[in-house]
């Protein structure tokens, strides 16, 4: 088997090898409760990575995801008491809208997505600081449990977050594989010029990809704030790098067009294993981003399709 053919199988092989290695060091790691707990803990990050997959699949990037989640934790904490359940659609709509803004500037004004989403992320961060008065906010515990408690409990030994994750993954997978939107996004990622020369409204589909990314970042923020029963403008810091790592080690390269949301699910599990293995190997939490930074660079170098790039600046 050549390396090219092996390449598409690398993510899940990596995952199995990592699990086996950590399991060999500490057999308790392999206990189902531990594994399920591990998976449940990473769900907010997974949802963010799921959204990012759409932006990266078309060959773009969404750097606003983390700030978006931050802002949403603040909004959710602030408006839960007044809006009740309606706070969820509000948050998702805000995420969708701000994603649309990034998408608009990227496609219609030709601002590269890394800068347009960085700018929108800056707006989100500042908005979070302003809305929260720059301090941590708490949700009313009884109201949270009444409205969103179902999100965080356990059913048997399975964390409820996992059901949400699987549900969202199924929806995204359906969009990717079975809808005209998914097909169009694939065409844009794999050959944007050919898609345009086939009469596709490329700009609209690209904006939608960023909007979906924004909406899912908002869902991630919402879940995170429910989990922590509160919000703060920096509460989700440290999410962005692992989320991008999850997409890339999963097998969706920065150049887009291949991979997809299922790959991101595997990529996120790899991130989860790396993260917990760091605990086993005694790497402190403050040092984790160093590891993710290195993994990110290596993952990009391994997955990027150099034939699609003329110049890198």
């Amino acid at each position: 088997m050549t390396f090219q053919r092996l390449k598409s199988h690398l993510p899940w092989i990596t995952l199995l090898v990592l699990v086996a290695v950590v399991g060999a060091v500490d057999p308790t790691f392999l206990r189902p409760v531990n594994l399920l707990g591990l998976a449940g803990d990473i769900v907010p990050l997974f949802i963010m990575a799921l959204g990012l997959t759409f932006a990266i699949y078309i060959g773009g990037i969404d750097l606003s995801a983390q700030s978006m989640a931050n802002m949403i934790t603040v909004m959710a904490s602030l408006y839960l008491s007044s809006l009740g359940l309606w706070v969820a659609p509000l948050c998702i709509a805000v995420g969708f809208l701000l994603g649309t803004v990034s998408g608009y500037f990227t496609t219609r004004q030709f601002v590269p997505s890394f800068i347009s989403t960085l700018a929108v992320g800056g707006v989100c961060f500042s908005m979070a600081q302003w809305l929260s008065g720059n301090r941590a906010l708490n949700m009313d515990a009884t109201q949270r449990d009444a409205l969103f408690g179902w999100m965080i409990g356990r059913t048997g030994i399975i964390p409820n977050e996992l059901f949400i994750a699987v549900g969202l993954l199924a929806i995204c997978l359906f969009i990717e594989r079975r809808t005209t939107l998914g097909r169009a996004l694939k065409a844009v990622g794999a050959g944007e010029l050919a898609a345009a020369a086939s009469g596709l409204n490329v700009g609209r589909f690209k904006i939608l990809a960023f909007a979906i990314s924004g909406a899912l970042a908002a869902v991630a923020g919402l879940l995170f704030s429910v989990k922590l029963s509160g919000g703060a403008p920096t509460i989700a810091n440290g999410f962005l790098l692992p989320a991008i790592v999850a997409v890339l080690v999963g097998g969706t390269p920065l150049t887009g067009g291949v991979g997809g949301v299922l790959n991101t699910a595997i990529g996120t599990l790899i991130v989860a294993v790396i993260r917990s293995s760091m605990l086993y190997f005694g790497i402190e939490a403050t040092q984790q981003q160093m590891v993710f930074g290195l993994v990110l660079i290596v993952a990009i170098a391994l997955t990027i399709d150099r034939s699609k790039l003329r110049l890198v600046k």
């Binding site: 809808t179 694939k186 065409a187 086939s198 009469g199 291949v258």
Partner: protein, 501 residues
């Protein structure tokens, strides 16, 4: 003094240079002519060191040499004046002239600008150009830039001991008549120091300037003509002349088109810098061929019809209906199909399967509420794979892995299966082998029989003449002449060349 012996160069399966012998004597001006794709550019690139020949020898003063890159060729006195302007617009004139050779003006890493300006003035004087060497290049006219390019190459005079060979690639294409005269005068004066190789599409200029002319065709030198020994007509015949078999282009299948059904009407359409005042009508069953040199507006016209470009003035009608806000989406809905020249970039999406490619332009037909019916897509693909005899393992094969001819058939199937009856074919046979080309010609006739109107930009003049009902010759974005191409009354290549150049 500079000589090529038995030079061969292949790119994959394409034999770009076939055993080319070529030499330039001291102080000689040598012309190089041939159709697009005859191998002129490849030969130039071998001469100035950008390509290395697969076999054969390069001799300078009788001694074999080998250039790994243009820089090494330059160090031996071979300089290239580029056709496309290669100056960097945001640098000053003098910085451009000495780009890559700044060392002589630096001390401890700092520039002595005054010294550089002085040296640049000296170079500019050689080409009689009176501009401030410190001025930004972007402020210069095209003609001035062309002269700066020449001045840049002439810095070799100081740097190199021996004789120079200077290549001029289409240097007159952006110049006015007076400027051309000035350039020619300069070139003649400079022959005391340098030999020149002059490539141009303008045959009269080549005849006027050159001492000898090399005529290339299909990668080989087919004739060498000394000054005054031939006529423009004779050279053009050698350039293009090859026997054309009527059957090759399926001419017997060319039937009259339906003059009553107008599919595309352009009325005085203009796009600044691309096309001006173009009017044309495409009828059902007609093959209308646009003929012209690179940049004459063929692609711009097709992209205007497809809605990728919006004309600044004039009107576009598709099937009688005026187009208000042109977009590709709108054109596709009206039945326009576009087969772009860059097949791998714009024609197919590599990484997607055959069936995904075929339905890309018509996903709406295979979807209910945005959900695709993949089964129907696959059936369509299997059907067209059979109809077009596309060689592929299955409809799930990645389009990027198909051969050029089969990729082109996928692109054609994409439009034809969606019922497109206005087809824009931009160099549909480019890079295809003979068999695949003939398949495309057959498909063109099939489409005409079905009442499809085709706007074609052909790969060669023979192809244009062989396939079309009507030929429109374009020059600098404007319609030059229209030819009727009814079988038996087809224009000759010579007729077309005359209108083109």
């Amino acid at each position: 003094m500079y000589e090529l012996k038995g030079i061969d160069k292949k790119f994959g399966g394409v034999h770009a240079l076939k055993h080319v012998d070529f030499h330039v004597k001291r102080g000689e001006i040598v012309g190089l002519v041939g159709e697009n794709g005859a191998g002129k550019s490849t030969l130039m690139k071998v001469i100035y060191g950008a390509y290395q020949p697969d076999s054969g020898q390069i001799l300078m003063d009788g001694k074999p040499v080998r250039f790994a890159n243009p820089r090494q060729a330059m160090d031996q006195g071979i300089g290239m004046v580029f056709q496309e302007q290669s100056l960097i617009p945001n640098l000053s004139v003098m910085e451009n002239i000495f780009l890559g050779n700044e060392k002589q003006f630096t001390r401890a890493g700092l520039f002595d600008w005054a010294k550089m300006a002085e040296a640049a003035r000296h170079q500019l004087a050689k080409v009689r150009l009176d501009v401030d060497p410190r001025a930004p290049t972007s402020g210069l006219s095209f003609a001035q830039r062309q002269l700066v390019e020449l001045a840049k190459v002439l810095t070799l005079e100081e740097r190199i001991e021996g004789d120079l060979v200077i290549l001029l690639d289409e240097p007159t294409s952006v110049l006015s008549e007076d400027e051309v005269k000035l350039l020619f005068k300069l070139v003649r004066e400079l022959t005391n120091r340098a030999s020149f190789i002059f490539v141009s599409h303008r045959m009269d200029e080549v005849m006027e300037l050159s001492d000898r002319i090399y005529v290339m065709k299909d990668g080989a030198v087919v004739d060498v003509v000394a000054r005054g020994q031939s006529t423009v007509e004779a050279i053009q015949h050698t350039m293009v002349g090859r026997s054309i078999d009527n059957e090759y282009y399926r001419e017997t299948r060319q039937k009259p088109f339906d003059p009553k059904t107008r599919l595309v009407e352009l009325d005085r359409v203009s796009l600044p810098g691309r096309i001006k005042d173009v009017s044309l009508t495409l009828h059902a069953g007609e093959v209308l061929c646009l003929v012209g040199t690179e940049g004459s507006g063929r692609e711009a016209i097709m992209r205007t019809v497809f809605g990728m470009l919006s004309p600044l003035s004039g009107s576009v009608r598709l099937k009688g209906e005026p187009v208000q806000r042109p977009t590709p989406r709108h054109a596709v809905e009206r039945g326009v199909g576009y087969v772009p020249r860059e097949r791998k970039v714009e024609g197919i999406v590599a990484g997607m399967t055959i069936y995904e490619n075929m339905t890309l332009s018509q996903m709406g037909r295979y979807a209910t509420a945005g959900v695709l019916g993949t089964g129907a897509e696959r059936r369509l693909a299997r059907d067209w794979i059979k109809r077009m005899s596309i060689k592929a393992p299955s409809e799930n094969a990645d389009c990027g892995n198909l051969s050029g001819g089969n990729q082109q058939k996928v692109v054609l199937s994409k439009w034809r299966s969606g019922g497109s009856d206005i087809m824009l074919l931009d160099h549909p046979t480019r890079g295809l082998d003979i068999g695949a080309k003939q398949d495309v010609y057959t498909m063109v006739r099939d489409m005409s029989d079905d009442g499809v109107g085709i706007i074609l930009a052909a790969d060669t003049l023979e192809e244009a003449i062989g396939l079309s009902h009507t030929i429109i010759v374009l020059k600098d974005g404007a319609v030059q002449k229209t030819f009727d191409c009814t079988p038996g009354r087809k224009p000759t290549m010579y007729d077309l060349l005359h209108a083109m150049l």
